[in-house]
Amino acid sequence: MIGDEFPAVLAAARGDEAAFGRLWHDLQPRLLRYFAVAAPAAAEDLASETWLAVVRSLDRFRGNEPAFRAWVFTIAHHKALDWHRRAARRVTEAQPLDGLVELAAPDDPAAAALEGLSTRAALAMVATLPGDQAEAIVLRVVAGLGVDQVAGIMDKQPGTIRVLTHRGLRRLAERLGGDGRMRRVV
């Protein structure tokens, strides 16, 4: 992750498939997980759209590896926003994920849930948070970005991002641990 990938970006922009493959390998799972929270009904499509946009403007990107990752997630953020705008116009809405959590059996022990918690279930749980909190948390945890980068992507102040993540974690703790009602959601 920390490696010097700026040359990789340059090489990929020139069509170096091995260099591009490394970038893709690092970022594609993060993108899928980001969209699983930000636009769950269209995660794979939006990840593909993001890569198409990345590939098309790869030759214009200048910066180091963290900047590249932030750039990719800036594109992803806009894809998610566009998708929500389109979805708002559609009659059939994506199924709200809150429902999944509420379907969980009330007597499942929290410990069992923690052990068997899949990535997908964890992301679905994060997705139950208010949109900004969920996105701030997933950008920090899954995309591996810093507060300032997340602030840039979400067009907010760093202090606001701190508040959003704090509230999100707190709300997760309330749901997961407080009264022992953590469930295997998926």
């Binding site: 990535t119 641990g177 407080g178």
Partner: protein, 281 residues
């Protein structure tokens, strides 16, 4: 949405009194949770589940998540190829545009009489080529490099003669009565020399009318020196040597090699008509 009610009160809750609020978090714990540095066992008890959840969210990628690489690579390939093709097209367009500009420049040069700039290589090679073709089409005249420099092509190569070539038009004007075709058609000294030399020895000068011969004699510095003068003048070689120094196209040292027989070469008998034409204008 929740960002709107973010306030300083909220910020203060980042440094809470845990007795009052069991779910309170300090900023360092938040950062460690987000960074995955707090295993559930080490996290505050209320946040053990959160730590496990965040760890699951950031777990190593599954094979399923890494399944689409071929498609992404295909996109990269397509975009790279499209871009390469676009770059080629762009450079072709650029070249075409440059020639287009050259046409405009040449048209302007013709309009303002500034053919010199265009024809003598102040413009790059494509422009000169365009100039050539346009001039040929428009005026039937070949813009040889000597075109704007009539004096240089008419002037004998030797420095001693350079200062005193009588203007050929002068001779023509001074001998209006002598209607010899040579004099009328060829007010140029070289042309006269050719005519003079054409008849050998005894015939020398017989093919020239009086006025033309006298113009030659004036240029040569005497009737007896016409022969020597013309021999110096006649060899075809001196002409390019005479023109070249005034020709500012250092990158094009061998126009003759590139365009064998091209009218651009004034040393092979085609320079004179041009010089003649320009002089008689």
């Amino acid at each position: 949405m929740a960002a709107d009610d973010a306030s300083s009160a909220e910020m203060r809750r980042l440094h809470p009194n845990r007795d009052a609020d069991p779910l309170a978090l300090d900023e360092e714990t938040v950062e460690r949770l987000l960074a995955g540095e707090l295993p559930p066992a080490q996290a505050p008890p209320e946040y053990a589940a959160v730590a496990a959840l965040l760890a699951a969210a950031a777990a190593p990628p599954s094979q399923k998540e890494l399944a689409g690489q071929a498609a992404a690579l295909a996109e990269l390939r397509a975009v790279t190829m499209t871009r390469a093709a676009a770059t080629q097209r762009a450079s072709k367009r650029k070249r075409r545009r440059r020639v287009g500009l050259a046409v405009v420049a040449v048209a302007g040069a013709l309009a303002t009489g500034g053919v010199a700039a265009a024809a003598t290589g102040h413009l790059p090679e494509p422009v000169r080529k365009a100039t050539r073709s346009i001039l040929v089409t428009v005026g039937g005249a070949e813009p040889a490099t000597s075109l704007p420099l009539p004096a240089s092509s008419a002037r004998p190569p030797g420095g001693d003669h350079a200062g005193q070539p009588p203007p050929p038009t002068d001779a023509t004007v001074r001998a209006p009565g002598t209607t010899g075709p040579a004099a009328a058609a060829s007010p140029n000294l070289k042309g006269r020399c050719r005519a003079y030399m054409a008849g050998k020895e005894a015939e020398n000068g017989k093919k020239l009318d009086v006025a033309a011969f006298q113009a030659l004699a004036r240029a040569a510095g005497g009737e007896d020196k016409v022969q020597a003068y013309c021999q110096r003048l006649q060899p075809p070689r001196p002409e390019p040597g005479n023109t070249k120094p005034k020709d500012p196209k250092p990158k094009d040292p061998k126009p003759n090699d590139q365009q064998p027989g091209a009218p651009e070469n004034p040393g092979q008998g085609q320079g004179n008509p041009h010089a003649t034409r320009s002089q008689s204008r």
